[in-house]
Subunit: 220 residues, 2 copies
Amino acid sequence: MTKEKDALMVLSGGMDSTTMLYDHADSIALAVTFHYGSNHNEREAVCARYHCERLGIELIEIDLAFMGRHFSSALLNGADAIPEGHYADSNMKATVVPFRNGIMLAVAAGLAESRGLQAVMLANHAGDHSIYPDCRPGFVTTMGAAIAAGTYEHIELRAPYTGMTKGEIASRGKALGIDYSKTYSCYKGAEKHCGRCATCVERREALAEAGITDNTPYED
Amino acid sequence: MTKEKDALMVLSGGMDSTTMLYDHADSIALAVTFHYGSNHNEREAVCARYHCERLGIELIEIDLAFMGRHFSSALLNGADAIPEGHYADSNMKATVVPFRNGIMLAVAAGLAESRGLQAVMLANHAGDHSIYPDCRPGFVTTMGAAIAAGTYEHIELRAPYTGMTKGEIASRGKALGIDYSKTYSCYKGAEKHCGRCATCVERREALAEAGITDNTPYED
């Protein structure tokens, strides 16, 4: 019996959402990626296109250029504004794009309802991201309730990686045979990963933890 | 003592949000209006600009053009697609723009956090709008919880008209001296209100209920 494809997935092209795309390809009818005005984001989108084409999943790209114009975030201000170090460092708070997951999920919910789909999927996960309030389990639960209440068909928010660490996600990707050199993480957004910003540090730790040979070219 | 202006308000330029703008002008630091690709919406925006300028409140206009391209709704398909009659009629379901309030509130929350504001305000109200799931009290409550959970400063969603009918809102506007001929409602989006679509019917009933002489020029 073939599983019905009933979900729209928010796909960045980073490690986590790419893993979920392969992991749940049998239920994903449509993926959506957002352009919100950072180099990091544009390099991720190249990866999102590559994996959707490979899996035969339709990808919609949505322009949220107003975020670059009106929102405050170091992530939207170019490479020099990105702090180096670990997510736990307090200076990483500067990289928050306010309520980004809320905005992406809200658009995804409207798009899912327009297409007659039953669910939206997000690849949030456990770990250092507690610095980002819109990545925490309490946000995912309440946003899921708002999406269910605000749509005719009570669209469901699925976030199956909420309790998993990035290392556990990488282990799952290893089993799925994912080539992580075809994902992008670095907040600095250069062609080559810097290797020193919090997203690079986290990426390297997760790949090492999963026992994956890391073929990503790093500056450092 | 001057009340601190700590809120961002979602303003369409229709009767309800215009009334709230005057009613709560002492707490509104910033208003935001959205362009999502309908004539109706563009005519509302003209009114939003007029009232913000009059009250000295900054207005940000945000382009959500992707909704016109990717979302299904009669409201986004031109005047001929708009049904006539009352909101209670089942054909009005065609005018739903999926999760529109969710999307506008999510963007408003991110913008409020970027500006260091404490609250977002929405002029949803009681009445026939139960056909729109993202206008119901259950949505407003859960979306408020998601915004509080997903922002650093636990931004609050204020919806002080949730329990009021449109007639009661018009009565409040009468006391505030609002000129409702400078608000726009018609879903058909022509220069002159059609007088027959559900938004026009509701507008006329509310103004009559409040004992306001209706100076709006109607086609019908």
